[in-house]
Subunit: 244 residues, 2 copies
């Protein structure tokens, strides 16, 4: 009666930890969004596989719980880290009435970390992670968080910056941040992290607004007041002295 | 002429990605703080090893740069993620005058993610990561970030919550956060993540203040206004409806 909620990292198995691999291997059933189950297919041979389309998060958790209650060990796979906008939370909520089911979260590399590595070193100092998706969060709260994070001079990492219905949210976010940060602030974004089509772009805050290249598979990074460009990379200094 | 700045994750090799392992294997020289080099010793056989004591971060970067300039491939190992309070930033700064040296950052599991997994799912929604170390950051800025992050209702993850010289900083942080959040807010902390002595504790904001168990090897998590305890785990809801 155990559910592993597993972060498999961004796409490529090069990012998946031995702990994640081992948890899948120990399981009888693999549950997840179709695309993520596909990414670990070589590990699912001989196992029962239950996958669902996008946006059926609660259903996936129920499927995982059902299998666990039948006495099976379940691997519930998520992209990135299962604990950052991942399924670890809703899984615990769905299983609340079944404390006999053990839930173990297996961490993975989240897009903040894998994306930062592509751009250089933007997250070296204090940072805030904000999702621009208002499917489950009121937009007013997202605006408030953007505004206060900018005022606090956090480096800011944005998940879900855009979708078909929310094509101008990144523009609004850039505008809010510009109230306490220069339009020339070094920024960057990474598309399709850990996949063949991975692409990292460095730019300014001004260039984030109205940017048509950013899509729902993009993670966006906004520097703090010290972030600078060094040899084409986005770097936030930690503050060491006597470097040169 | 290449330096891999590698996050090896928290202690145990179970958390180290195949990408990190492969980067070490491809290198001629391994550079790092003595303890971290020790953690990957089985991978360093036959390689040149250069390690230094703590607090010699800039020296370590210079050693890595020197070897790279001699034409060697260098693995510069860091705990957790090289890009979160890690060496990826200062390495880029030290090598600024040598654009011919390629620096590739290899991401790892940072303590925010590995610690969150131990406690349950605290980081499921927007969060801020703040270091309480004032060695390189003015305390006033740290206070400002704590205050604004609390006001924005971010889940807050604290790195470096304490040291011998800074034994009451976690108390001050709890007090600042309590100005916009209940003293009963679900919180937690994890010591020695990924090591044999790993220990996760859930508590309230009140219980963080004056807590003698928290030390410099601890990562602290402070819930937002929605965070709750479910079956002994710290869980921040994302906001899905119709869960039950």
């Amino acid at each position: 009666m155990k559910i592993y909620v597993i972060g498999i990292g961004p796409g490529n198995q090069e990012y998946m930890t031995p702990q994640a691999r081992s948890a899948i291997e120990k399981s009888d059933v693999v549950v997840g969004y179709t695309l993520y189950v596909e990414l670990v297919r070589e590990l699912t041979e001989g196992k029962e596989v239950k996958s669902t389309a996008m946006k059926q998060e609660v259903d996936r958790c129920r499927m995982a719980l059902e299998s666990a209650l039948e006495g099976k060990t379940v691997a519930f796979v998520c992209s990135g880290d299962a604990g950052v906008y991942g399924m670890a939370g809703v899984m615990a909520e769905v299983a609340e009435d079944h404390p006999e089911v053990e839930i173990e979260v297996v961490p993975g590399i989240t897009a903040a970390c894998s994306g930062a590595a592509v751009l250089g070193a933007p997250l070296i100092h204090d940072f805030a992670v904000i999702s621009l998706s208002d499917l489950l969060t009121p937009w007013e709260l997202i605006e408030k968080r953007l505004s206060l994070a900018a005022e606090a001079d956090f480096v800011i990492c944005l998940y879900n910056p855009k979708s078909k219905k929310r094509h101008d949210y990144i523009d609004k976010a850039a505008e809010i941040i510009s109230r306490s940060r220069s339009w020339d602030t070094p920024c960057g974004y990474v598309k399709n992290i850990g996949r063949d089509e991975e692409k990292g772009v460095v730019c300014t805050l001004k260039e984030l607004a109205g940017n048509d290249d950013i899509d729902m598979f993009t993670t966006v990074f906004i520097g703090n007041s010290s972030t600078k460009m060094i040899n084409g990379k986005m770097v936030t200094p930690r503050g060491y002295r006597n470097i040169r």
